[in-house]
Symmetry: C2
Amino acid sequence: MSAVGEHWTVQVDKALRGRNDQFAADNRAHFRTAGVFVLNIVSSPGAGKTLLLERTLAALREELRIGVQVGDLQTDNDARRLSGHGASVVQIVTNGCCHLEAGMVAKALESQPLGELDLLIIENVGNLVCPASYDLGEDMRIVLVSVTEGEDKPLKYPTIFRNAQLVVITKLDLVGPAGVDLQLLRENVRRAAPQAHLFELSARTGEGLMDWYAYLRRARSGQAGAS
Amino acid sequence: MSAVGEHWTVQVDKALRGRNDQFAADNRAHFRTAGVFVLNIVSSPGAGKTLLLERTLAALREELRIGVQVGDLQTDNDARRLSGHGASVVQIVTNGCCHLEAGMVAKALESQPLGELDLLIIENVGNLVCPASYDLGEDMRIVLVSVTEGEDKPLKYPTIFRNAQLVVITKLDLVGPAGVDLQLLRENVRRAAPQAHLFELSARTGEGLMDWYAYLRRARSGQAGAS
C-alpha cells in the first residue's frame, strides 16, 4: 500500500523470482537425471517438521538413502537433532532470510552428491507465507499444519495451501486438550487445497505414521497418484 | 546465497526499509500528539493473538477507547471475530504481503481517527520472521509464543525476540498435554530477549489474564517500566 516505489518493488520482485525459477529448473533437471525424489516441507514455526523427519528417517533408513537439507534463520539445532539417524544432513543458515531459495538448495547440493541419494527432504524455514513463492525444484510440496494452530489457518494462508500436493495435519494427540474442531479444520484444508492429498498424524504417539511411510514409499517409486 | 543480483537486492531492501522508517516516524509523531498508546503484536500463525485480543477488548472496553488494526494476507475472519467487542476494528488485507508496513498502518488510520482512541492494538500478519524488520511506529512490540510451538523457537527466530519489549507465552493450559518443558522455554526467552518483560497466560482458561490487563493499564499510563 506504500505508494512510492511500488512499481519498482514489483519489478525487482519479478526479476528475483525469475532468477529463482531458473535455479529451480536446473535443480529439477539434476534431480530427475539422478533419480532422486525431492520433498519440500513447509509450515509455521513449531508445527512439527523436525519431529516428523526424525521419525521418518528412523523408519526408512534401511530401505532408502535419504538426504536432508534444513533451512533455518540461525542455529543448527535441527540439523543436530536430525543427524545420527543415518541420513546425510546439510544445514542451510539463511542469515535472516525468511524462506529457502532454489540457489541455496543448489549450493547445499555441492556437499551432498545426488548419486548417493534416493530421497531428498528439504525442511524449509518455519513460515507459512514466503516459502510459498519459491519453487526449489521439488517433486512434491508438503504443508504441515498443527491442530493447535486453529481451524482457520488454511483460509488465512491460502497461497501456500493452494500450491501443495500434500497437506499433513499434525499433533493429532492434542485435538482434545486444545479443543479443536478437527472436522472444521479438515473442511478448511479441502477448501484451500482441493488438489492435495490429506494426512493426519501424531509424530509423538505414532498415530498415522504407518500410512505416511507407505505413502512416501509409493510416491518415491512414482505411484503417488495411485494412492 | 544467490550470487547474481545480491548487491542489487541489498540496495533495494535498504531503500524500502528507509521508506518504511519514514512512515513509522510519522506514525509515531501522530500517536504521541494524539496521546494514543500503540502495541504491535507479532507471532507465528495460530499462537493465539486474536483470542487474547478478544479477551482484552472485553475486559478493558469500559475504561479505554480501543482501536484495533488486523493484518491478514486474505480474509477478514479476524476483524469479524473482533468486532462486537466495543472497539473500532480495521482490517488490513495485505494481498499476500508477509508483514505489515508503516504505510499500511498510516492508510488504515484514515478510517480510524486517533482523537477517538486511547489505545491502538495492531495485530500483525502471522509470521515470526518478516514483521521483525518493519517498525510501525508502535510504543511496544509484543511477541506471542505458544507453548505448543516447542521450547527452541526463541533461539531459532532471534531477531523478532531481540526487538520485543514484551514476550507473552500463550496456551499455558497445554503445557501438560503437549509435554512441553516450560522452564526451558522460559530460559530460551530470557536468552533471546533479555530486555523483555515476560508474561505467561492462557486466554482459554483465563490464567494470567488479570496480570496482563494490569500491565496494559500501567503501560498505557506510562508506568510500564515500573512494573
